[in-house]
């Protein structure tokens, strides 16, 4: 029933988790199925993903990468080749044991990520420094056997891209790792209006099999953090496990230096939790499947529908434009498209037509503007631009207001116990023992050591020993 849209959703401040579930289902982003922990991505949700994907795919290609497709299945023996990797992933993979009626002689896992498949392939196709760099990417589904799941944020299966590259030197690989992190940050900030902190993961939190991991971290409305994209320097760990050697410029055999990096459907969860409000979803204009929704007012009156059809035709050459000419009441339509977070609603009735104007309503602020038909494209273009900017500004302000400094453990603990924890900036000695202790005592985990380091104290917030780095801590999704 379309009538669902006028039911009130749970208030964010009352129960954020419930609010989230209400939004993803009532805005028709996803539906549940009988497959535990998996989601059906419905047309509106998938159209958002397609827009994100196109933006990212363009940037991946512009930076010289080529798309490929690797098999879904990984033989158990292949997954075992890199020790840290198998240890990290074995507990969370799905195993295929039968094909048709026959039992397999070797189990196949459903890829949780594809380092080992790329490793095996790179061994075959890389021989000389002339073959480097190799810059591959794939768009794929992956499976991780999660116990508790939530749409977009943590699902048994998710969609992503995974980049896998090979380089001559450690420095080249590091440059690539940083470059792709910046691409992810750019997608988040410029396209999704989500500000991110760029930094390095601790040893504990790095990718299984990596030398080190870079990450972008964002802050949700409820003060919890979300890892929004990671980029790994793999060093020669996989190269040694798979024998990916090349004749270098000096004629000697060297192992390649590798990277991998991934960005997933999870980011839609971030978009919801950063921009959404009590009326539902708020979709940034640059990825909105519909940027402008036209709602005729008093559409039974002569000329109104014809006018809106013409207007749609005119506007859709510049904007992704919708028109709802159904017989539902305008108020119901308003609620529906507010729930779906469409950036601009355009209302037009007989009086507007007479006065050669339309009414534009911003989803982000609720502001209503009567504007002349003359120059309408430019007006809408400016408005969409303003909305996009406003969303980023508001999200940045929210993050700043919820970023705290802790110079001692009491302050840290107190902040972690607040209902809205936010980011806690605190110094750390670099010792895993302190990292584990902080998590145990406060529930906050290390999110990253930001690229932009500050020295807010000389001592580790936990043990008082000499501080090694500033760390962003938070409770996280």
């Amino acid at each position: 029933m379309k009538g669902n849209f006028v039911e009130k959703i749970t208030n964010m401040e009352d129960d954020f988790a419930k609010w989230y579930t209400d939004v993803v289902t009532k805005a028709e982003l996803v539906d549940y199925s009988s497959v535990r922990g998996s989601m059906i991505i419905r047309p509106y949700g998938f159209a958002i993903w397609e827009n994100i994907k196109n933006e990212l795919d363009n940037r991946i290609k512009e930076t010289g990468h080529e798309n490929v497709y690797m098999p879904l299945f990984i033989p158990e023996s292949l997954l075992q080749k890199e020790k840290d990797h198998i240890e990290g992933f074995a507990p969370e993979v799905a195993w295929v044991t039968h094909g048709g009626e026959e039992e397999l002689t070797e189990r196949l896992c459903v890829r949780p990520t594809s380092e080992v498949l790329f490793g095996e392939h790179y061994k075959d196709i890389i021989h000389s420094y002339r073959d480097l760099p190799k810059l591959y990417n794939q768009w794929a589904n992956v499976v991780r056997w999660e116990k508790t799941t939530r749409p977009f944020l943590r699902t048994l299966e998710f969609l992503w891209q995974e980049g896998h590259t090979c380089h001559e030197t450690e420095e080249d690989a590091d440059k690539e790792t940083v470059q792709m992190l910046r691409v992810y940050a750019d997608i988040c900030e410029q396209i999704l209006a989500i500000p991110v902190i760029k930094g390095k993961k601790t040893e504990k939190e790095k990718f299984a099999g990596a030398r080190y991991t870079y990450t972008i971290e964002s802050l949700m409305h409820d003060g919890k953090a979300l890892q929004s994209g990671t980029s790994h320097h793999l060093g020669d760990h996989f190269a040694k496990a798979f024998g990916i050697q090349f004749t270098d410029r000096n004629g000697t055999q060297s192992y390649v230096q590798q990277t991998s990096w991934g960005f997933t459907t999870r980011i839609i969860g971030a978009m919801i939790m950063v921009h959404g409000d009590d009326r539902g979803l708020v979709v940034p204009p640059r990825i909105a499947p519909t940027q402008v929704m036209i709602i005729p007012i008093a559409q039974h009156k002569e000329g109104v529908l014809d006018f809106t059809y013409e207007l749609k035709k005119q506007l859709q050459t510049s904007f992704r434009t919708g028109l709802d000419a159904s017989d539902k009441k305008p108020g119901w339509k308003f609620n529906e498209y507010e729930m779906k977070g469409i950036p601009v609603r355009l209302e037009v009735g007989p009086k507007d037509i007479e006065q050669k104007q339309v009414v534009l309503v911003r989803r982000d602020t609720g502001e209503k503007l009567a504007v002349p038909l003359d120059g309408l494209e430019q007006t809408i273009a400016n408005l969409l631009h303003n909305i996009q900017e406003n969303l980023l500004t508001k999200a940045t302000e929210h993050r700043e207001a919820n970023t705290h400094i802790a110079r001692d453990f009491d302050t840290f603990k107190k902040q972690a116990n607040e209902q809205k924890t936010g980011f806690i900036k605190a110094m750390w000695c670099g010792d895993r023992v302190c990292e584990d202790f902080i998590k145990e005592e406060t529930g906050a985990t290390s999110r990253c050591m930001p690229f932009e380091q500050e020295k807010i104290s000389d001592k580790c917030v936990c043990c008082d020993k000499e501080a090694d780095a500033l760390v962003y801590w938070a409770k996280a999704y």
Copy 2:
């Protein structure tokens, strides 16, 4: 080693299967992996798929369909809901029995196709005739546990799109089924330059769970047929199994009428086997990742490289243009890009620059043309257009020359025994017994009952009983 490109590949007429394997690997479309029966789709192969996918996705959207994404896994109990469907697919699905360390209480199959997942979802979201039609599509990977596999043609895992739609009436569903078959035929003929026969499958060959199946069939260079796309009218089979009911225009509860239709990476195999020759791949211009490859001649001479860089910049606004300025010899480059089937090679050396001309070489005919720089874009545009047309004409002529008529079983059997069987047009009584007998005796299977029926005889070619329909028969991939 790039040097591989000058090694001669197997001659088509000597060993077509070996020729095919040589082409797919040496043109760098695919590589093998340690995953039995699966393929790595390499950058060149994947770029071709992306171009096909974009063309098809545009048409799917233009005809009003929306993309969604369904789970990869199907619980065994869900797959069993439609009897014919489970019987058809059970022998060829992969089963997941373990997640992490734990054994599952119910096995999950890796989707071989997604009718049952769509069925379950449609039951939840369709209530009234106002909700119809529902026109969904998904791009996905699917798995079928094939015993013998060949790149693109038959692989354990393949990529495809699968459309799934719901309608109010049988007629609406039939219109949809025909419409999507025509879209597939259009992609084959207009984009891939592969002529197809449109028709209906026999009961024996229809999709497991369908009322009937429409198909497009194409003929390969070796005289074998390839099913190139299918579109199924599902009737209310799945609707009844899943309880997909709606309140119709008369206020009564009715079951929806459904369709499903799929188009796969297999079509790349068809493209190879229809257009390829003894020098390798021939890629139709409309899907060629590189349409024009510039090869500098005597590139060490002053001005040549600069000229080609400029030329590339100029041409790439109109065409997908490559430039090979590596230090390999031009002859090696010619071989490489002939192997890869790039439609037009553009050679330019010091003399050409002086004479304000370039040399264009067509991949399809080998014809060389010295053409003036003046008006080059138009010349190339015309040439690409001619190549595209020529490929379709040649393929159509080949098919016509290899389409035979059999009015009696001896003639049928003799033709089926020819090295190049081709299509055999023969009348059929409609009885499964004859269809099975023909296959057993001749190796030919019924490909389709073409939409354009002819009456070439009154009697079934097998049993002499009254003929029911003209059938295209062939040995098939």
